[in-house]
């Protein structure tokens, strides 16, 4: 009996040696450890043995079973490992084939830039204020201290809307977002006409000028204005606020320069230049060799404008500034043709 067990063990072990795949392993297990295997028959034959033989053979059979199972487990591990190695070697992709993509939507570059600007302004406490795009001459010009026929109107050629005769107050497409200053001041002042609350707003929106559409000029463009009105707001606050804005917008090391300028609705007025971020101020085509980029126009809100907005200029003061998101993008990305913005060519849009 014991010899038979040794035979069983040896032949099982021998046949296990030759196995190199998982299906043969399964077959081996059925043959050598399955219900009808020789080893199992030894177990089932134990009852027929004498009392003395039974424990001896039982123990031996158990030892063989344990040995075969251990060998089987080892072999299974080895076979699986080599099968895995084989498949890893075989399953090699051409990683250079292009991937399958999905279409991802994009915001228009102007929206992206408006968001950047408005996000910074929001953190600085300036809330978004929007107003209409078609305005009266009164809102767009007169209340902003551009009297009829004033030379400053040369700076902003307007597109007029056909109406019946309206004298000095025709309807036009707003040439800047500044009518929103009057709308906003009046709205805020109405909250408490005797002591109007302070204002800090950002005015984004589309503006229009009677200009031919060329690489350098457009009939419509976005503008963002900032407006702060309150008690004790000074020109030095204007400088401080705009320098902070420039640092957020163009980097903490952005150098700025303030030049005296003229806008009818601010006084004193200033132009803020930022050191050219294309050439670092050394001079290049983008900054026309000046090292500076004109980024925004600004100034202390003109007393007439404060008055027209319901704020007493003897008590209140404020500042405003305006800038163009498309111009900022053109400078940043060296875009040479402003017509790309409303052309909506996907080859342009895709680059943002």
């Amino acid at each position: 009996m014991l010899e038979q067990l040794n035979e069983i063990e040896k032949s099982a072990m021998d046949s296990l040696q030759t196995i190199d795949n998982e299906s043969s392993l399964d077959a081996w297990r059925v043959t050598h450890l399955g219900r009808s295997s020789a080893l199992m028959q030894v177990f089932s034959g134990l009852g027929a043995l004498s009392k003395e033989e039974r424990p001896v053979v039982g123990q031996a059979a158990n030892r063989v079973k344990i040995a075969l199972e251990a060998a089987f487990a080892d072999k299974t591990g080895a076979v699986k490992k080599s099968a895995l190695e084989r498949s890893l070697n075989e399953e090699t992709l051409d990683v250079t084939l292009p991937g399958r993509t999905i279409h991802v939507g994009r915001l228009h570059p102007s929206t992206q830039q408006l968001r950047r600007v408005l996000a910074i302004l929001a953190e600085m406490g300036f809330q978004v204020y929007t107003s209409r795009e078609v305005e009266t001459d009164e809102m767009n010009f007169q209340l902003l201290n551009f009297p009829p026929h004033h030379p400053a109107r040369d700076m902003q050629d307007s597109l007029y809307v056909a109406t019946e005769e309206r004298g000095d107050n025709p309807i036009l497409l707003r040439t800047h977002t500044s009518p929103g200053q009057i709308h906003a001041m009046r709205q805020f002042a109405a909250m408490n006409p005797k002591d109007p609350p302070p204002i800090r707003i950002a005015l984004p929106g589309m503006c229009f000028r009677a200009e031919q559409i060329t690489a350098r000029s457009e009939v419509q463009f976005n503008q963002v204005e900032g407006l702060a009105v309150g008690k004790g707001i000074t020109l030095s606050d204007l400088k401080g606020t705009l320098v902070e804005f420039a640092h957020r917008m163009f980097g903490q090391n952005a150098r700025t320069r303030f030049r005296a300028s003229y806008f009818p609705f601010t006084e004193p007025s200033a132009e803020m230049d930022v050191e050219c971020f294309v050439c670092g101020g050394k001079g290049c085509a983008v900054c026309k060799n000046s090292g500076w980029l004109e980024i925004l126009g600004s100034g202390m809100v003109h007393p007439v404008v404060l008055q027209n907005g319901g704020y007493d200029p003897n008590i209140y003061s404020g500042f405003a500034w305006g800038m163009g998101p498309e111009r900022q993008l053109m400078l940043r990305y060296k875009i040479e043709d402003i017509r790309y913005f409303w052309g909506n060519d996907i080859r342009f849009l895709e680059q943002f």
Binding site: H103, V104, G105, R106, H108, S110, T111, G125, Q127, V128, Y129, T130, R132, E133, V134, H149, P151, A162, R166, I171, M191, P198, M206, F208, A210, Q212, I213, V219, Q220, A228, G230, K231, G232, T234, L235, S236, D237, K239, R257, A260, S261, Y262, E267, P268, S269, E271, K282, G283, K288, N289, S290, G291, M300, P303, Q307, P313, N314, N344, D345, R347
Partner: protein
């Protein structure tokens, strides 16, 4: 404005200031220098990486190699008829120089000149512009043999030295030019190109800029001393003036100069005029232009004898008045102009003489019989653009000049210059405001220059009508105002010092310490509350009164103090009420969702044409532009769908799949009032559902349900729940069978569908279906829902598929609604996963297969419970829509 530095030097000492220093100071003070053109002076040299400051062009003249020389004989060239050889002395040695200059040719062979000619002489190795090249090409002067004669140097034309484009003749300098002096020292220059802001018209002249620079650098302004001899009968005996409307013509001044000899102005004067952008004409016209550029007062010279003749035996009487409608005047550009009552005329008793402040008349202009050349006043001068074909009635050159300096209403001049399309140096200045005080100074300066350059004799006196003096603006400011608006602490004395530099008159009063006299020794004599009464100088019209005047004066304080010296501070005021902008925020959310579901945002022109939108069948009134820049941009859009379709059309061949959206206003006209500007969302898509790839082929095209799915995503992203769709055939641009209204709580918020085939034909949109959607954002936003998040249960659901057979006519949405209603809270999801039609279920029928999720919130749903619910659903469907459960 182009300003030669040499001219500036007449009025301010520039020692120690480089051209760049000057440009920088002016730029920061609001006189922005757009560029610097060097014409002889040394140019700045930038090292690699060094910062530039200004757009720079031009040429520096080498001091060793370009000098003043004198020609004492013009000899013929042995081998060339058209060339001459100049014997000249360059200050060190005799030279023989070859030239083909026509303006010296007439002296060929005349022997030794009685008076030597001064020229600009360039030696071998000098860098010059090539006189014969197109445009500006720098070249170095090299030794060469021309027709057998060795040439190693040259006499220069203006082009070669970068003064003008003129390259035919050589420069003939003034007689007093010092021989041997480096030309750069004699007349090296740099020209600043300065932008004049509308409120700085007072600085559109040399003195104005010099005054600013003097204030900015604390230097002295050397005002010109105007002195000349007078002789003969006083003008006051000969001429009178009548001003009919002082509002239009506050002042009119006339002077008289006799026996002028019309000839070219001195070369240095011509050079300055050229660098300033004006064409020299003759000494008289040049004197008017020179005085204008220098002082800012445009002048006009009349031929006195022409006026005298017109007046007959009477004295000359000048009348200024508005023109009569339809009145005619031939201006000196030989154009007959039909005038309107808007225009103001300078007339005599016979009729109009000139268009006031804008352009002179032909008949009385200064006439030079030796040259059929026009008075340049009022004409924009370009090289080689002398109007041709003029025949003068006069045979004799002008000898006696009546010189006009006047003040006009700037708005009137502006409108007149625009009406007749006559921009000029004079109308540029008059249309921005010239102080009447300058009329007198201008006439005197003009007479002085004419006397100097023409040997004329000025008649004693001026005729000066000054009916409307401008109010001199007086403003009171305090150091407290300075602090309140500029944020800087300046003492009274500092403020006064700053303002006096710009010639403001200041008086200090109201010192709280008390009487100024007694306090003089005790410091301080002034305080924070002290008042400074400031009066604007008599060349300024830009200082207002009251609170506006305060702002005007404070701006000057800030400018002269220097914007760069104002500190940067943080606003100390309380924070404003937070009102936010819910509309803007909501639209931004819409954009984010649309981008997330694959749409690209476009932004289109608000301006379009009726024809373009007519393709969509849009009719009715438009917001029309009276002065459109182009016919295709002549109205404001009324359809946002039209805008996105334009973008789709533009890109249709650029991509296999396009999905666009735009958010923005459309414009609906309101009679004689502001239009409505409702905000809309438009979406459009066309092309392939899936991006093709090397193993993805034959992707299907977007259809109705692709658009619908995206709309569902958009609306569920915005948390709308009670959304329903109803077919519609009333949207003109949509396919009547493939169009739907989108409803929320039974309110229509938008429509979508496939573009109508007939509409699509009008666009170039390819073969694939085009899907469009349009939402009214105001309606949609008004329905903005509140919502809560449903808890996520831990208990497992029961999933089950059921298929029901219904008639074709039964809408899928109805079946789904019945399932949801019947299932109630226990059915948490209903998803249609198959629609089948075929013989197995009979014609006119369809099978709808749904995947249902049964769920109890607080326990595990059993199969039996789920089956009970399903049975209820099936029964309900049988009753309501005659559905049969498919086995």
């Amino acid at each position: 404005m182009k300003l030669p530095i040499s001219w500036l030097k007449d009025f301010i000492d520039l020692d120690g200031l480089s051209v760049e220093d000057i440009a920088r100071k002016l730029t920061l003070a609001g006189l922005e220098v757009d560029g610097i053109q060097y014409v002889g002076l040394p140019m700045p040299v930038y090292d690699e990486g060094e910062k530039h400051e200004f757009k720079t062009s031009g040429i520096a003249w080498d001091k060793d190699k370009i000098v003043v020389a004198e020609v004492y004989e013009v000899k013929p060239h042995p081998n060339a008829d058209r060339l001459t050889l100049l014997d000249l002395f360059d200050g060190q040695q005799q030279q023989v120089v070859l030239t083909g200059a026509p303006n010296i040719f007439h002296l060929k062979g005349a022997g030794k000149l009685s008076k030597p000619i001064k020229v600009a002489y360039a030696k071998e190795g000098a860098t010059l512009y090539d006189g014969h090249a197109d445009g500006l090409v720098l070249t170095m002067l090299k030794r060469a043999k021309i027709r057998g004669v060795e040439s190693y140097s040259m006499v220069c034309s203006e082009k070669e030295l970068g003064i003008t484009e003129e390259h035919e003749g050589i420069i003939i300098l003034d007689d007093d030019a010092p021989v041997g002096m480096p030309l750069a020292d004699y007349m090296g220059d740099a020209v600043l190109d300065i932008s004049i802001l509308p409120n700085m018209a007072r600085n559109a002249n040399v003195i104005g800029v010099a005054r600013e620079l003097a204030a900015l650098t604390r230097r002295e302004l050397k005002k010109p001393t105007i002195k000349f001899k007078t002789d003969g009968e006083s003008i006051e005996e000969l001429v009178s003036i009548e001003i009919t409307n002082p509002e239009l013509n506050p002042r009119f001044v006339l002077g008289l100069i006799r026996n002028v000899e019309i000839k070219p102005s001195p070369y240095q004067i011509q050079r300055r005029l050229k660098l300033a952008g004006m064409r020299p004409i003759n000494n008289i016209v040049d004197a008017t232009n020179y005085a204008m550029l220098e002082l800012g007062e445009p002048l006009h010279a009349f031929d006195y004898d022409v006026l005298k003749e017109r007046a007959g035996k009477k004295n000359i009487k000048i009348i200024t008045r508005p023109a009569k409608d339809g009145e005619k005047l031939v201006t000196l550009d030989n154009v007959e102009r039909t005038l309107s009552s808007l225009n103001v005329l300078v007339c005599d008793e016979r009729g109009p003489l000139s268009l006031a402040g804008v352009m002179g008349g032909l008949e009385s202009e200064v006439y030079d019989s030796s040259k059929e050349i026009l008075d340049a006043k009022g004409v924009e001068i370009k090289d080689g653009e002398i109007p041709q074909g003029k025949v003068s009635i006069r045979s004799r050159s002008t000898a006696n000049i009546l010189l006009e300096g006047a003040a006009w209403n700037f708005i009137n001049i502006r409108r007149t210059a625009k009406q007749h399309n006559l921009p000029s140096e004079a109308s540029f200045r008059f249309s921005r405001g010239v102080h009447p005080a300058l009329a007198e100074t201008g006439v005197k300066r003009g007479l002085q220059l004419m006397a100097q350059w023409s040997n004329g004799i000025v008649a004693p006196g001026l005729v000066d009508e000054y009916p409307l003096k401008p109010k001199s603006s007086t403003v009171t400011i305090t150091p407290k105002d300075v602090k309140r608006l500029l944020g800087i602490e300046l003492s009274v004395e500092e403020i006064v010092e700053l303002l006096e530099r710009l010639e403001f008159k200041c008086k200090i009063r109201g010192s709280e310490i008390g009487n100024r006299k007694s306090a003089k020794k005790a410091k301080p004599i002034t305080s924070y509350e002290s008042q400074i009464t400031v009066t604007a100088p008599p060349h300024r019209l830009d200082i207002g009164e009251g609170v506006v005047g305060v702002a005007d004066v404070l701006e000057e304080v800030a400018r002269v103090h220097g914007y760069d010296r104002i500190p940067s501070t943080t606003m100390a005021d309380r924070l404003p009420p937070q009102i936010g902008n819910p509309i803007h925020e909501w639209e931004e959310r819409l954009r984010d969702i649309l981008v997330a579901i694959g749409f690209d945002e476009v932004v289109s022109y608000r301006l379009t044409s009726v024809e373009s939108e007519a393709r969509l069948g849009i009719t009715g009134d438009y917001v029309r532009i009276t002065n459109p820049i182009a016919p295709e941009r002549s109205v404001m859009r009324r359809s946002l769908v039209a805008s996105v379709l334009d973008s789709l059309e533009h890109n249709i061949r650029l991509s296999e799949s396009l999905s666009f959206f735009e958010i923005g206003p459309i414009f609906q006209p309101v009679k004689n009032d502001l239009p409505n500007e409702p905000r809309k969302l438009a979406m459009a898509m066309s092309g392939l559902c899936d991006a093709s790839a090397w193993d993805v082929k034959d992707s299907k095209s977007f259809d109705f349900y692709d658009m619908k799915g995206r709309i569902e995503l958009l609306l569920s992203g915005l948390r709308y729940t009670n959304v329903s769709y109803a077919s519609t055939d009333s949207v003109k641009y949509l396919h009547p069978g493939k169009a739907a209204q989108i409803k929320i709580d039974d309110q229509t918020v938008g429509v979508f569908g496939e573009l109508h085939p007939l509409v699509k034909e009008k666009y170039d949109l390819g073969d694939a279906p085009v899907l469009v959607a349009e939402f009214d954002l105001e309606t949609l936003r008004a329905l903005n829902p509140t919502y809560a998040i449903t808890p996520v249960t831990e208990f497992p659901p029961v999933l089950e598929d059921i298929a029901v057979i219904v008639d074709e006519s039964v809408a899928a949405s109805r079946v789904e609604a019945l399932i949801r209603q019947t299932g109630g809270k226990s059915v948490t999801n209903v998803r249609l996963f198959d629609v089948y039609r075929g013989d197995q279920i009979g014609s006119g029928k369809k099978s709808l297969a749904y995947s249902l999720t049964y769920q109890a919130p607080d326990k595990t749903m059993t199969d039996a419970e789920a089956a009970a619910i399903r049975n209820k659903i099936v029964k309900r469907l049988e009753q309501e829509v005659g559905a049969k459960l498919r086995g």
